[in-house]
């Protein structure tokens, strides 16, 4: 994956716009998925998506190690999402960690199993949510997560395990929520 990222970055910097298009095609869903789970707000995530990829467009030339493009991209997305939390905290003074974010998901979404898993992820504390998305959805290693989030690999692992235990409690076999 890194090899084609490198090739596409090189093509883009040679002036071939299709290099950037290929990067966009490859990462549009992962980035939007990350932003939606981090912000718990679909509209905000779509707004931040613009900012992330415009920033990538402007700044990818400055990326020293192009084999780590994926981690850098997620780092940019995480940074944008954190700025969003901060602005929302300042503007609305809401508890972005807790149950107050019920407005983010459609009622229909809540009714299906995957929607409930999403909601359970949304109730996790910010750091655990970030780690779960990067590990379980994007398959990043703990070292890559550490790099993206500015934490240690051990901290990333501990947060992931904490999050998985909480999620499993919500969906234990006894409750019949998940097979």
């Amino acid at each position: 994956m890194s090899e084609s990222d490198e090739e596409d970055i090189a093509a883009f910097l040679r002036g071939e716009e299709r290099g950037f298009r290929r990067l966009l095609e490859r990462y549009q869903e992962p980035v939007l998925g990350l932003l939606q789970r981090m912000t718990r707000d679909r509209q905000a995530a779509e707004d931040l998506f613009q900012e992330v990829f415009l920033k990538v467009f402007r700044q990818v030339a400055g990326l020293r190690d192009r084999t780590r493009f994926r981690v850098w991209l997620f780092r940019v997305a995480v940074h944008q999402a954190r700025r969003f939390y901060q602005r929302r905290k300042e503007l609305a003074d809401v508890d972005v960690e807790g149950e107050a974010i019920a407005h983010t998901q459609d009622a229909v979404e809540q009714s299906d199993l995957l929607g409930r898993v999403r909601s359970a992820v949304d109730r996790l504390p910010e750091r655990q949510r970030e780690v779960v998305v990067l590990r379980a959805y994007h398959g990043l290693s703990y070292e890559e997560i550490a790099d993206a989030l500015d934490v240690t690999a051990e901290n990333a692992r501990a947060n992931f395990y904490q999050a998985m235990k909480k999620l499993k409690r919500d969906f234990s076999p006894e409750t019949g929520e998940l097979p």
């Binding site: 467009f57 402007r58 020293r64």
Partner: protein, 147 residues
């Protein structure tokens, strides 16, 4: 019978993070412990559901992409080159200019234009006298202060 520890056994096992010896030890326990096997099954089911649950809705991807394409079409900012690349581009431009100058040299007269005959006759002393005669005479500092 004691059960597997979630942090040290079950979760690392479920996510493929144990070494060979660890995997064998956990697998041996799971063959004999139905409780731990159920715990593992629940974890695996959850891990399997997470990627699907975390995918963004397709219509949201389309909407976000359409907006981005529109912004890029309106004129995206130029990529910012890092210092090394900027220096490289500047050096390449300079080298190209020098090369162009060398190639054009046989065809273009690069010597400074000749002075008109009337100016050629003036030396620098004559020019200096000419200027001094036209400048207003400023009083010296001593004269102004009355010293």
């Amino acid at each position: 019978m004691s059960h597997l520890d979630p942090d040290h056994d079950l979760l690392p096992f479920a996510f493929g993070e144990l070494d060979d010896a660890g995997r064998e030890r956990v697998a041996r326990h799971l063959r004999e412990c139905a409780d731990c096997e159920r715990e593992l099954a629940a974890l695996r089911a959850l891990a399997g559901a997470l990627p699907r649950a975390l995918e963004p809705p397709a219509e949201s991807v389309v909407a976000a992409r359409r907006r981005l394409d529109r912004r890029l079409a309106q004129g995206a900012p130029a990529p910012v080159l890092r210092l090394g690349e900027r220096l490289w581009v500047a050096s390449a431009a300079l080298a190209a200019a020098v090369l162009l100058l060398m190639l054009l040299r046989p065809y273009v007269d690069l010597s400074p234009p000749a002075l008109p005959a009337s100016l050629q006759e003036l030396d620098r002393h004559a020019i200096s006298r000419f200027i001094q005669d036209r400048l207003p005479r400023l009083p010296l500092v001593k004269e102004r202060t009355g010293a």
